[in-house]
Symmetry: C2
Subunit: 256 residues, 2 copies
C-alpha cells in the first residue's frame, strides 16, 4: 500500500517534477548467445510489454534523462546512447490504455498529467549483455530480454518504435563501428561476425568480413587464441580504442 501511494503520487503530481507532454523511450540492445536481444518491461496494470521509458526532469538534460532511465533498468553507467527519432502522432498514446491503467491504480484520469498527450523521444542503446542486471520499475512486474526475432505483444506504438530503432542501428552499422558497446573486452572474429550478422539479419562471407574488419584498423589481434574449442582455435581480438573513436567520428565503409 505504501508502494501504491508512491505510485499514485507519481501519477497525480508527477507534472510538478517532469516536463509535461514529453517522454523518453529506450530501445536497449544486447548481444548474447549469437542473438540480438532487447530489454522489455512487463507492465503490471496495462498488460503487454513496454520499452523502458520515463520523463525529463524539469532541469535535466534530455540525454541525461535517457542515461538515468537506462541506469535504473540495467545498472549501467555511461551507456552508448543515440537519439534516433521523435514520435509525434497525437494518437500514439491512446487514451484507452491510460484510462484503464489509471483506474487500476486509483487515480482519476482527468486529473493526471499522464492522461495528456505525449510526444516521445526515441533513443537506442547498445550494452554489454553480461553486465546488465535487469530491474523492473514501479509499474512493472518483470524486466526481461527478448530476441528481436521473437518479440512479445507490446503496448501502444512501442513495436513501431522498436522497428525504427533497429532500422537506425542497421544504418549506423554501415558507417560506424558498433561492437565495442555490445561485446566484452576480447572476442574472436567469428563472434564479431555473428554480431554483425544478427544485427543485419543476413549472413556474411567469413573471409571478406575478416578482411574488411581488419582493414578498418579498429582491431588489435592478441597473441592469445581461444581455448577448449573443437577444431582450429581462433585468435582473440580487442578494439583499438584510438582508431575506434576516430572511426566513430569519420565513418567507415559499408557491409555487403
Amino acid at each position: 500500500m505504501e508502494f501504491k501511494k508512491e505510485l499514485k503520487d507519481h501519477y497525480s503530481k508527477g507534472h510538478e517534477k517532469y516536463l509535461r507532454h514529453i517522454s523518453v523511450d529506450c530501445v536497449i540492445f544486447g548481444f548474447h548467445e549469437n542473438d540480438l536481444k532487447v530489454l522489455l518491461l512487463k507492465t503490471k496494470y496495462a498488460g503487454g510489454w513496454a520499452l523502458p521509458g520515463g520523463f525529463i526532469l524539469k532541469n535535466e538534460h534530455m540525454d541525461a534523462s535517457a542515461q538515468r532511465i537506462l541506469k535504473e533498468r540495467t545498472g549501467l553507467d555511461e551507456i552508448f546512447l543515440e537519439q534516433f527519432h521523435v514520435f509525434g502522432d497525437p494518437d500514439r498514446s491512446t487514451k484507452k490504455i491510460n484510462q484503464q491503467f489509471l483506474k487500476n491504480i486509483g487515480v482519476k484520469a482527468d486529473i493526471s498529467w499522464m492522461f495528456e498527450r505525449f510526444v516521445t523521444i526515441g533513443y537506442y542503446a547498445l550494452v554489454d549483455f553480461t553486465k546488465v542486471t535487469p530491474s523492473p520499475d514501479n509499474i512493472s512486474a518483470a524486466c526481461e530480454w527478448f530476441s528481436i526475432y521473437q518479440l512479445p505483444e507490446m503496448i501502444l506504438d512501442h513495436h513501431h518504435i522498436f522497428d525504427e530503432a533497429l532500422q537506425n542501428l542497421r544504418m549506423q552499422l554501415n558507417f560506424h563501428p558498433v561492437g565495442f558497446n555490445l561485446l566484452g573486452k576480447k572476442f574472436t572474429m567469428p563472434e564479431l561476425q555473428k554480431l554483425y550478422e544478427t544485427i543485419l539479419g543476413k549472413e556474411l562471407d567469413r573471409r571478406n568480413f575478416q578482411r574488411k574488419m581488419l582493414a578498418t584498423g579498429i582491431l588489435k589481434r592478441l597473441d592469445e587464441t581461444k581455448k577448449g574449442v573443437a577444431h582450429k582455435a581462433p585468435f582473440y581480438y580487442k578494439f583499438d580504442l584510438r582508431n575506434y573513436k576516430k572511426a566513430l567520428k569519420s565513418g567507415m565503409h559499408s557491409f555487403e
Copy 2:
C-alpha cells in the same frame, strides 16, 4: 495596439492552445542564383535573426505543426520536411533573452509559459526558392533569405541547429535524390550540378557527375535545349518521379 494585445494573449495564454515545453524549429533551404539559402526571421523584440519556429497544437500531429509553420512563412503546401534532431539542453533557451522579450511586450515573465524551458524538434525543409513568398510572423520585423555562407547573428542556439541541419542534408544527399524539392520542373545538368556543389560545399567533376546522375535513372532528358546561352546549349532534364520516389526509399550511391 490591437496587435500587441493579440501578442500578449499569445504569450500569457498560449499554453491553453499548445503543448508546453515543446517547440518546432525549421531550417528552410532554398536554391537561387547558384547559392544555397536559408529563410530567417528578424525578431522585433529580442534582436538577432531566428529560424522560423512555432509550437504544436494540443491535438495536432507534430509533423503537421512543422508543415503549418512552413506554410505560414513561405505560402507553400506539402513541403519536403525531415525531422533531423531534438535539442534538449535545459539551458538552450536562456532565460535572459526570453525575459527581455517578454518585458518588451508587457508580459510578466513568471506568468508566461514562454518563460519555461523548451525542448525543440529540428526539421529541415527543401523548397523551390522561386515559389516562396516570405512573410514574417507577429513577433518578427522581417523574413529574408540568407546565403548559408553569410549568415547573420542568430538568437539562442539557432546557429547550432542550422549547422546540424546542414550536416544532415549533406548526409541525405549521399543516399537520396534531393533536387526535386529545390529546383523547378526542368533544369539543365550544370544547374543540378551547381545545386549539389553548393550543398556539399565543394566542386565536383562535371563529366563524372553527369554519368552518375544519369546512371541513377531518376532523370529524363527532354528534347529541348536551353536557349539564349553563349556556347553550346545544354539539354533540359526533368525528374522521373517514379524512379525518383523509388530512390528516395531504397537509397542511392554517394557523391565523391
